[in-house]
């Protein structure tokens, strides 16, 4: 299960780490059975809802694979919202990224390479247009066995 972080740096690092620890505890309690994406995402969204009104700033996507639901992505933010979907863009540059994602001819059976290329294109456009986005681009691919990093680029070294 992967989680992305957008918003307040300290809030995101702390609460994603909390989720990592809770998921580990789940595995230990339930004899090695991995936590489902639905459960993990709900753990995080409950705790963020409980801290509503305290000006936390967290915008994340929790995604992964499990046997019951297949591949799923949950968008979670500091208001406590938790929505399942096929595609999300989060953060200050999300509107720019969505512009790229929505205008591409999206087939629901896009191959892995096409999906990665589209992701890179969307993020690169967001870093171009949004002042608060930039630095590095990192792309991770998730399949039934887990996740791995497939693309990493330092934008200072790019042309």
């Amino acid at each position: 299960i992967l989680g992305t972080m957008a918003g307040g740096a300290a809030d995101c690092s702390f609460w994603i780490r909390f989720l990592r620890n809770e998921s580990k505890m789940h595995e230990l309690i339930h004899e090695g059975r991995a936590i489902s994406v639905a459960r993990a995402s709900r753990l995080l969204s409950s705790v963020l809802y409980g801290n509503r009104g305290l000006d936390l700033s967290v915008g994340t996507m929790i995604m992964g694979y499990d046997k019951r639901d297949g591949f799923s992505i949950y968008y979670i933010d500091n208001t406590g919202v938790r929505i399942k979907g096929d595609m999300f863009a989060v953060g200050s540059g999300s509107t720019f990224a969505l512009g790229i994602l929505d205008t591409e001819e999206r087939k629901f059976d896009m191959s892995e390479e096409e999906a990665v290329t589209l992701g890179i294109k969307a993020i690169r456009h967001a870093t171009l247009r949004d002042a608060a986005s930039g630095g590095f681009i990192g792309v991770y691919l998730i399949n039934e066995n887990g996740w791995r990093k497939v693309f990493s680029q330092d934008l200072a070294k790019a042309i």
């Binding site: 307040g8 740096a9 300290a10 809030d11 690092s13 702390f14 305290l54 936390l56």
Partner: protein
């Protein structure tokens, strides 16, 4: 201390009335003002013949116009810290001046605090919060040592400091930290923090009032940015000289930085301390 230019940008609305924020050691106070577009002066809305407010005086007595005082629990005591990591060393330095507003409280106060034999915490900000944070960390480290029968490794200290800061997320420690030390493999490690515990391992870190003067210099000299010549590894003696030069520059331009620099060099053998005098002006 508000000039007319900064006043125009600083005016904000409070209950529908334009207010000028006044900064003083008492914290924030606001005085309602009215801008007259024709003669570009600031005057009380209730009394057009009153004198122009220059913002540098706080009226402690009774005034014609109502204003609001508030107590601020925070105070900025000044100072700058810098930490640089190398292949087998870490250098951390901080000036020794303690100030409050325009006054110097002490020229000889240390901002560096060794947490283990291999790890030093440098903090600038509000002295009382810094001292309290250190006490809390010392206690946590002692408990760790008793439970695990070994001193804490530097990456663990880094995570613990991040968590300790986040525990006070809604009433933060006013402490801008840099952590420098040797990690378990013997390499130099430097971690930068914000006030609520977000942290990252970085090649160097500067925090405090003089950080804006130090960071661009470090970007060029240590990270070798915007340079066309060949990069070479810097030995620890050269890095110490760079640190001294950097603090000389920061001391020139930043009023809160000066008096002396305390430099600690951390290697796998231990911690060595050096003092370097700066201008006392």
């Amino acid at each position: 201390m508000a000039s007319l230019l900064s006043a125009t940008s600083a005016v904000h609305s409070r209950n529908g009335q334009s207010c000028l924020p006044i900064h003083s050691s008492e914290g924030q106070a606001t005085i309602p003002v009215r801008f007259d577009g024709t003669n570009l002066s600031i005057g009380f809305s209730t009394d057009p013949t009153a004198n122009i407010i220059d913002g540098s005086s706080i009226d402690h007595g009774i005034t014609k116009a109502p204003y609001e005082r508030s107590f601020s629990p925070y105070e900025f005591n000044g100072g700058t810290t810098l930490a640089i990591s190398g292949p087998d060393y870490a250098v951390v330095a901080a000036d020794t001046r303690l100030s409050s507003g325009y006054e110097i409280l002490s020229r000889n106060v240390s901002k560096l605090h060794p947490l283990t034999d291999r790890c030093v915490l440098g903090s600038a900000g509000c002295k009382t919060d810094v001292d309290q944070l250190r006490s809390v960390l010392d206690i946590k480290m002692k408990v760790y040592q008793h439970n695990h029968r070994k001193p804490m490794a530097t990456p663990s200290v880094a995570q613990m400091l991040g968590n300790t800061l986040y525990m006070k997320r809604f009433f933060p420690y006013y402490s801008f930290n840099v952590l420098a030390g040797i990690d378990s493999e013997g390499k130099g490690a430097v971690y930068s923090y914000d006030a609520i515990g977000s942290f990252e391992r970085t090649p160097f870190s500067a925090s405090g009032s003089g950080q804006s003067f130090l960071i661009p210099l470090m970007d060029n000299v240590i990270s070798h940015k915007n340079r066309c010549d060949e990069r070479r590894d810097l030995p620890v003696e050269e890095v110490v000289e760079i640190v001294k030069d950097a603090f000389l520059t920061a001391g020139e331009r930043d009023i809160y930085t000066g008096d002396a620099v305390e430099i600690k060099i951390i290697t796998s053998e231990g911690i060595r301390t050096e003092m370097f005098n700066l201008k006392a002006d």
